[in-house]
């Protein structure tokens, strides 16, 4: 049934574009509203009838994946969720995929956040992703949630030398010194990897400047597409890898599903969103091509 739906929508879009092409070649301009309808259909159809495309991890993503994959079991990874609900659709898939990957490999995760508006996300990530998929893991031993602390870069400045000064307890009030994960962790330098996921400020860039560089800790980031170009200058020296936008998430998810088939059937929001994303891109590119064909056609007609 979904297959039929998507075939139908693709057909509608295809025929529509063809109709537009013919119209344009005859010299009739396309109205804005028509373009709007096309975008709406291109985005809505693949959400209703999910389509997924094959994704291959590009080097920036693959390097981070391989790094996590090659850490010995029992390594401690700090995952910082630096975003709010508005940004979540784009970057939450990265948090899910990377957390799953770490836990599968037997790494321990410390969750934290720098955004006041992101506190609820920390909770729901744990409730909805960690616990259902990994029934056997134990809080305090396999993961710990230290929550949010106000202070932006100031927080980073402190935890790079003394983690427990900023986070003496986890969100439940358990002293970190009494948890097996945190017993040996004094500062950010003691983590085997830090993952910052977000797209605003404070975020990936601040982690690199305030923690990665002074503390000499490997850092991997997942950022919104708009922020990604600003992160490229830090790769590969200061960053292990970058997941940029939904595409980055999708690449990571497909790599994860490829290496660990048990995840092939979990929800892959990144790959799921790539459907509408790709279709919308294709429609825009088709419009550009049609616009240019019409333009050249018009020029020729005028000349003769």
């Amino acid at each position: 049934m979904p297959d039929l739906g998507i075939v139908l929508s693709l057909l509608v879009i295809g025929v529509g574009l063809l109709w537009l092409l013919i119209r344009s070649l005859r010299g009739q301009e396309v109205e804005r509203r028509v373009i709007f309808v096309f975008i709406l259909v291109a985005v809505a159809a693949p959400i209703l009838f999910p389509v997924t495309f094959q994704e291959h991890a590009t080097p920036v993503v693959k390097r981070l994946f391989d790094f996590i994959d090659s850490l010995p079991a029992g390594s401690v990874v700090l995952v910082s969720l630096d975003y709010d609900p508005a940004m979540a659709p784009e970057v939450q898939p990265m948090t899910n995929a990377m957390s799953r990957h770490c836990l599968t490999k037997g790494h321990k995760i410390v969750f934290m956040g720098l955004w006041a508006t992101g506190q609820s996300i920390l909770m729901s990530t744990l409730q909805d992703i960690i616990l259902p998929d990994f029934p056997n893991i134990v809080e305090g031993k396999d993961f710990v949630n230290v929550g949010y602390k106000a202070g932006n870069e100031g927080v980073l400045n402190v935890i790079v030398t003394d983690f427990k000064k900023m986070f003496p307890t986890d969100v439940n009030g358990t002293p970190l010194d009494s948890t097996p994960i945190m017993a040996d962790i004094r500062s950010c330098r003691d983590f085997d990897l830090i993952l910052s996921i977000g797209g605003g400020r404070p975020g990936a860039k601040e982690w690199v400047l305030f923690v990665g560089d002074p503390g000499n800790v490997p850092i991997g980031v997942g950022v919104a597409a708009v922020t990604a170009p600003q992160m490229y200058p830090y790769y590969p020296q200061q960053l292990v890898g970058i997941l940029g936008g939904v595409k980055g998430a999708a690449e990571y998810e497909s790599e994860l599903a490829h290496r660990y088939p048990r995840f092939a059937h979990t929800d892959q929001p990144g790959l799921r969103m790539m459907g509408p994303q790709t279709l919308a891109h294709v429609v825009i590119m088709a419009f550009i091509v049609i616009g240019n064909l019409a333009f050249f056609r018009g020029k020729k007609v005028r000349r003769t």
């Binding site: 396309v30 096309f38 590009t58 429609v283 419009f287 550009i288 240019n292």
Partner: protein, 225 residues
Amino acid sequence: MRRLIPLAITFVVGTVLIVSVFTPPLENIERTFTLFFDIIAVFAFFLGGGNLLRVHISKLRRRKQDWGFSVVTIVGFLGMLMIGLFKLGGSGNIAAPVDETGSLFYIIFDAVLVPLQSTMYSLLAFFVASASYRAFRAKNREATLLLIAAFVILLGRTPFGTMVSGWIPEWLSIAQIPNLAIWIMNSPNLAGQRAILIGIGLGVISMSLRLILGIERSYLGDDNA
């Protein structure tokens, strides 16, 4: 006099701030002046908010077209003002921040402003499409480059980028669309950005000097006489 005093104020304040960059004992003056600005902005709000009310009340009085919507705006504005200033419907703790979770102020923000903001923001998706349809035409050399760069990047962000150029051999991997997209972002794009940024820096210096030295005074009601 009416003109001289403002010009003198601008000159002194601007000069002090420039000097403070090089003078450690003046370092904090920047923070102080920023505080002043924030305080002035609050006072100015009497003028802004008052203007908003005046415009809509006069629409209402004269029963101008769409005056009904003006009523909605006035009610929304005053309602939110009351709720926020008197911290109505919250935990009842007057010392709590106005936007603490669970307060009426926060609930309205969450239920009304958040969906409106994100929907308005998402309109961009439609406008990005209509703008690219219109703007990306190979009218001349400049427009053609604009078009090609945008197209390569667009293609590079979809799985088709890999598909279309997968046949290109490894030694020419730079020509594969995804790599080419990254190269454009990191090289010509970087060059253009840098030239723009340096230009902006110089533009700001020159304009600031014109303002501080009183050469530019159109904002003060003097048509460069």
